[in-house]
Assembly symmetry: C2
Homo-oligomer: 591 residues x 2
Amino acid sequence: MPSYTAPTKDLQYVLHDVLNVSASDIPGYAELESDFTAAVLEEAGKLTSEVIAPLNAVGDAEGCKLENGVVRVPTGFQEAFDQIREGGWTGLDMPEEYGGQNMPYVLGTAVGEMFSAANQAFTMYQGLTHGAASAILAHGSEEQKNTYLPNMVSCQWTGTMNLTEPHCGTDLGLMRTKAEPQGDGSYKISGQKIFISSGEHEMAENIIHLVLAKIPGGPEGIKGVSLFIVPKFMVKEDGSLGERNGVSCGKLEEKMGIHGNSTCVMNYDEATGYLLGEEHKGMRAMFTMMNEARLGVGMQGLAQAEVAYQNAVDYARDRLQGRDVTGTKNPDGPADPLIVHPDVRRMLMDQKSFVEGARAFILWGAHLIDKAHRSNDKDADGLISLLTPVIKGFLTDEGFDMTIQAQQVYGGHGYIEEWGMSQFARDARIAMIYEGANGVQALDLVGRKLAQDGGKHVMAFFELVKNFCSENKDVDGMADFVEPLKKASKDLQAAGMFFMQNGMKNPNAALAGSTDFMHMMGHVCLGLVWGMMARASLSALANGTSDAAFHETKLATGRYYMTRRLPATSMHLARIESGADPVMALAADAF
Amino acid sequence: MPSYTAPTKDLQYVLHDVLNVSASDIPGYAELESDFTAAVLEEAGKLTSEVIAPLNAVGDAEGCKLENGVVRVPTGFQEAFDQIREGGWTGLDMPEEYGGQNMPYVLGTAVGEMFSAANQAFTMYQGLTHGAASAILAHGSEEQKNTYLPNMVSCQWTGTMNLTEPHCGTDLGLMRTKAEPQGDGSYKISGQKIFISSGEHEMAENIIHLVLAKIPGGPEGIKGVSLFIVPKFMVKEDGSLGERNGVSCGKLEEKMGIHGNSTCVMNYDEATGYLLGEEHKGMRAMFTMMNEARLGVGMQGLAQAEVAYQNAVDYARDRLQGRDVTGTKNPDGPADPLIVHPDVRRMLMDQKSFVEGARAFILWGAHLIDKAHRSNDKDADGLISLLTPVIKGFLTDEGFDMTIQAQQVYGGHGYIEEWGMSQFARDARIAMIYEGANGVQALDLVGRKLAQDGGKHVMAFFELVKNFCSENKDVDGMADFVEPLKKASKDLQAAGMFFMQNGMKNPNAALAGSTDFMHMMGHVCLGLVWGMMARASLSALANGTSDAAFHETKLATGRYYMTRRLPATSMHLARIESGADPVMALAADAF
């Protein structure tokens, strides 16, 4: 069975050596001193590696079961869920007035990586609740906040997000679920929603569904969509639970992975619902949470890659197979460990350099979100809005590839469920799809974010990279990072230029290259954060750190990324510059 | 449920328009006239799409079950297996004297693609039998051939290959299974083999296991390994079946995919076995079949990509979601079909251009095998030996990626088992691992095949590409193919040069780039066959073909590959030229 070791040291490194959080001028960041974050991370690390991770394979093997309308979660999930509730882990970054601990989002994100890596399917029960609570926090009335948030922050009640219907996923304007006003401020919700994660289960006393639906007579399409709160059990005025609402789970989906999470078909049959936010402004309410939700999914890509990588390293060290061609490394054994072989090293270095880069990228993103929300920094808000589709799309595409690499290290044993490597790949696969499929992320990036506010944010991003390069170009040891980053950034700018010159005439000239652009930008971002880490580690070494080995390893891993992964940008640029023609040449019936 | 349409037209195109098989000066090829191959392919197409393909999802859902030592295959497998036996499909390219039809391997390969695409797990029962029969054909005594082949060619008996043991896969020198000589020419085989595909089942009257084992007192390591025939039921002198031999299935593995095939732990407990070929020459006997077996696995990569692609196209045409940014295509419907969107097109074109290129590559490879075997052409033998790891490694890596792309077209529905897209990806995943993991293919290519016979074969390959380019550079319409191919081939040669200059001093400088080289060479090969197809289609158009649309589509698809996929070679070259240092920088305990 695979194991999970919480990467607390590396998380601390990014928080303190790289982002220097406790010195940041953001409300709440002064508290993030190294001792404090260490204590939080250690505690979360213990819980995730010892309690949550051992349930990962159990959840995969057992899955969820629907019996007479009741969903049974896998063995051990209820007890573990009780434990995270009791530990206060569910409201880490939620306001104190609703029972949260009001910690910065960056710390919640660091903790969140560990939960996700330990058990993605399990962690989704609290993750969806967090998303739904955030929506109520942002758009709810005082009464709604008081009614729902305390129990959702503590996960006494869990939450869901209901968007997709059988005939519409990305294109929510096609939605059919209806909300009939009852004249008393409430609505009757009727329709069917699918792919509802954590849609039904008995781990919580109540489930608060957030449901997109159309109020009859409203505008056509996406502009007529409103968001509703639909509790599983009605909540009485005194806060106690009343009768069962008209919402039920019609079916559990059989999926490729995340078996431990109940993915439900939800049937709404004149269920009582309450408008959240304004009429017909449902999409806006959803979108305000999008940055966080998508960052959370990007994190799942990183998290599955991390746990898969850890196990691949263990296997590569233990499994004796073949001999090092440059000279035996294990003369007393029947063979050398797999890790001596260059192609195995390549796979491990791909994974390691991705995982550590992605971790820094995510935490940098979370730091920008804090800056935007806590310091009301518009530039940070614009930048994270630009980077969000990259975090979601690039990190989940790459994260999945890394789980496949990790599985490959195991050879035939990687294909056998017993070893657990298959589950990491199967679970990671969903992150490329949900919360906006990665093609939609690329479309968001190229079709919307590049031009947002007159292209201000992408220009700021290029400026940031340029400044980093000029500030560091003469720093000893930084040339290995600055030069490749400059080259990659130049490729990215050339691609952006191509879009500007051709996309106005023919939008397809830009859209045909959208996924390539997203990946290019992902590489530039990872190149940038590797540069930031290199700078931090070079400083630590120059200052006579007591942990030189850690920093030397960090530098070597970063150099690998710059040398072996960043050259992908030139391939993406070549593809982009071929424009729309090769992609759109065929008639639809010629396929 | 997904469907499968046999690509008979495209197979015919490659056989006749591109490879011009019936005009080839190879014994048996004159028979391969267009009408004849069309009849065979149509018949096989009907069988695979109507009978075999519908069992694919059944096999995945039910899997195989071990009950009191007996393995139950999924519903319908027995009847379908009877049907392919009755149709004579199992011995297509086997000698007539053993009941086969003696057709060229190239036709067997074309038929084989359809079986694999329709149902990989099912097809493995006959595939492994074919492999084992080939080994007996190549290395068996007359008596052994007469005893086993007629029933194996007809699949009355099936066959298996037993290599892997719990502690050794790639490194078979570590093998522990023993073969004690009994003085009467037979041996007693004892030991445990794992990952034995089709190891036990009741679809055939007998199972002929080919087992690698060590004869005590023989040379150490891989040089002391011999190959044995171990029947499940002893075969009496009159050919009838006798008592059960000491071999049994101890366990069925739970796997990520190919659930319909029984992957067995096989226990040999003083089972009676008979030496196949010479003592201690077991690996040589295995290797003579390797080219065909690996080509067959490469074909699985293509086959799963093909069937996944077909379904992705159907879905992209049917599913209405969003609007074409350049103007509505379906004004009467609520939305346009997915296929209007450039990023969906990109995914479909990636798949289409891969699948059609891979098909031509595989059939060209099979043609080389026929040339080598039937015409005793040493150059063809050298070339296919060089190309084999590329066919296996590149086509299965890419084939898997294409199943992931196809799944992505479905959005959330791709993740749900009901739609079948997950199965294509899960089944395709194994092909990257078995018959030598892809890293081992890359090692074989770079560490062995490049230098084989003084580098003669790789030089011949470059010469072939060069000649193709110079012969076609002035042909109208060929510049789109010749120029990118030249560029990619130049990158590949530069990589080969880097290995020559650095690999002698430090083998790791070559091995660290082995997988990149394999992928580069795969792209060059697909570029070459796309060039061959372009030439064929341009000729057809110049000659006033009645099917201009087919050839125009072929050309557009080829141009996509040349423009959008071939630029990958420069990325691989950059990685290769970074040498061993980035890959090998860390100590094993620094991961």
